[in-house]
């Protein structure tokens, strides 16, 4: 999944001479918290609703008038993303810099924006259910070929795998969480166990029989 797949376009942006008051109104009208600031097509900064509120607040060391331009309070030289960046790169940058958005720039012009909420949407798309499906959780040995063996199990049965997520679990194993297009996950779990997979979900039922 790439930045271009999740970014909002076009980005709603303002010019540097826009007043804080007008910038704040723009944010409220669109229900957003981040505005790229540009001169012509070129990105020159980012201003957030917190920048605007703090600059004009009694808490500020020297509060300024809401009629001043955003160029006075914006962050200059903001971090940006390329439409072709993987979303995890965007997430890593935002996490490391503790920032809430990345303007997306291509050929030196602003083409979109990615915010923390867009990354949460991406997470939901990767983990979530958008089709009727059943969930299976399998513990795999952390070595080449194990995931292929698991995928082959479903392929042989003509079953569609809607999503698959894996994460390391200790040093020697990997947990794979799959959503498959089937109501029969319990029967699949039995078959997986017969094929020597360790199935974490669904579990065996807890009664003596």
């Amino acid at each position: 999944m790439l930045v271009r797949d999740i970014m909002r376009r076009p980005a709603i942006a303002v010019a540097g001479n826009t007043s804080l008051r007008d910038a704040y109104r723009t944010m409220q009208e669109h229900g957003i918290r981040h505005l790229p600031v540009r001169e012509g097509d070129a990105l020159v900064g980012v201003v957030t609703d917190r920048d605007l509120r703090l600059a004009t607040s009694a808490l500020a060391a020297a509060p300024i008038s809401p009629d001043r331009p955003v160029s006075e309070v914006m962050s200059r030289h903001p971090e940006t993303a390329d439409p072709g960046d993987p979303v995890e790169d965007a997430a890593r940058t935002m996490r490391r810099r503790k920032i809430g958005c990345l303007p997306v720039v291509q050929d030196e012009s602003l083409v979109g924006i990615v915010t923390g909420l867009d990354l949460l949407d991406a997470l939901l798309r990767m983990t979530g259910v958008d089709k009727p499906s059943g969930r299976l959780e399998v513990r795999l040995a952390d070595r080449p070929g194990e995931l292929a063996r698991l995928a082959g199990f479903f392929g042989e049965r003509g079953l569609n795998v809607h999503s698959i997520l894996t994460h390391a679990e200790g040093a020697a194993s990997v947990r794979a969480v799959l959503r498959v297009g089937s109501i029969e996950t319990r029967l699949l779990a039995e078959e997986l166990r017969r094929s020597r997979f360790e199935v974490v979900w669904p579990p065996e039922k807890p009664w003596p029989r």
Binding site: P132, R135, E184, P202
Partner: protein
């Protein structure tokens, strides 16, 4: 007494000998009733017409079902959920599915045209089917079609789905319908197919606040199930004021079910069915339509649905199953059949975190009511 709707052609809705959605379930039930001395005299419905099916399903979907049914190749069938391992295509599939729809529509007409109160359709309950997508063994959504028919006749419908899987197709088709309340109790979509049925799925437009979901923890037992049922359903019915209940009586919340993880016994199912009949008396002048649904343990499902038949007909529940029935079906069911009709009072299951499961279910019911009630005032 109740009207019973059934036709042997329902048996043709079969995905093969090894598929869980087996016609043997109803065969075993009818044979059990016969051996118990009850003569089941069902009324025969007609299969639904193509036009009737189109009330919910799109023409391009029906055309694909028809083509597969006639043995033609449909290259994009999987985009419509057809010809998949769950819902394989088979010759005559279209007509077989229309028989089940016809039965549920006939059951609805018994209520809204013939003025009957209790009707039991010994088939149907295909609650996963979408307007253009087959899913979870379901091709045509007989329930949504019958509910629309009832609503058109001026009877507002409260749909109660006790199948262990979320009634996603019915909910989706009727999501913005203000004449229909849907209530589904099911194992949480976090763990079980189809994955939906969260508390926050409340309906849209004039249907907002009328689509209710109680997701339950895996290994939920009868006591907790009945507690949340009692907390949610009477309050919802009192608000909505339905003219009729439509009940999908899936038997797969039973502890022996092969596809799911709830722990209801036949005794719990008896309590659920008695409550629903009582709510019909209190809220809908006794008008209630039951269909069958899921249920993938032959020995549990045949007894749960026999119970349903006995209760809607005010007949006593027997202590034991007839020996002839046990002998006849043990081999085909692949398990020994129980001498006692009911499951034991305690099934001896060692459920971990029983208290935590009950607490989480209680929280779900309360969160649901808190979210829905603002729309009820």
């Amino acid at each position: 007494m109740a009207s019973v709707i059934y036709h042997p052609a329902y048996r043709n809705y079969s995905f093969g000998d090894h598929h869980p959605f087996s016609p043997l379930r109803v065969d075993m039930m009818l044979d059990l009733l016969r051996e118990l001395g009850h003569e089941v005299r069902p009324s025969a419905p007609e299969p639904a017409t193509r036009e009737e099916v189109l009330d919910v399903h799109s023409d391009y979907y029906v055309r694909r079902v028809e083509a597969l049914s006639a043995g033609e190749d449909v290259p994009d069938r999987e985009e419509y959920g057809l010809g998949t391992p769950d819902t394989p295509a088979f010759p005559g599939m279209d007509e077989a599915a229309r028989w089940h729809v016809g039965g549920t529509l006939a059951a609805a007409r018994r209520i809204c045209e013939a003025g009957e109160r209790r009707v039991l359709q010994l088939g149907g309950g295909l609650h996963h089917a979408r307007s253009n997508f087959a899913s979870g063994f379901c091709v045509y959504n007989d329930l949504a079609l019958a509910i629309r028919l009832l609503a058109r006749h001026g009877l507002w419908v409260a749909y109660i789905d006790v199948d262990v899987h979320h009634g996603d197709g019915v909910q989706q088709i009727l999501y913005d319908d203000g004449r229909v309340m849907t209530i589904s109790l099911h194992e949480s979509g976090q763990f079980l197919f189809p994955g939906s049925g969260e508390v926050r799925e409340l309906g849209s437009g004039v249907g907002r606040g009328l689509k209710l979901n109680v997701p339950l923890e895996p290994l939920t037992e009868g006591a907790s199930y009945l507690e949340v049922l009692d907390e949610v359903v009477p309050a919802a019915l009192a608000h909505f004021g339905p003219g009729v209940l439509v009940v999908q009586a899936g038997a797969d919340a039973h502890y022996e079910d092969r596809l799911a993880d709830l722990m209801l016994t036949t005794r719990d199912y008896e309590a659920v069915f008695r409550r629903i009949l009582g709510w019909a008396d209190s809220f809908t002048s006794g008008r209630v339509l039951f269909t069958l649904g899921g249920g993938y343990s032959l020995r549990a499902t045949s007894r749960v649905w026999t119970l349903l038949y006995l209760l809607v007909n005010d007949l006593p529940v027997p202590a034991e199953t007839p020996e002839a029935w046990r002998r006849r079906w043990a081999d085909r069911a692949g398990v020994e059949l129980p001498v006692l009709f009911h499951d034991p009072v305690s099934i001896g299951a060692d459920v971990p975190n029983r208290e935590a499961i009950a607490r989480r279910n209680r929280n779900s019911a309360q969160r649901l009511l808190e979210a829905a009630m603002p729309y009820w005032s």
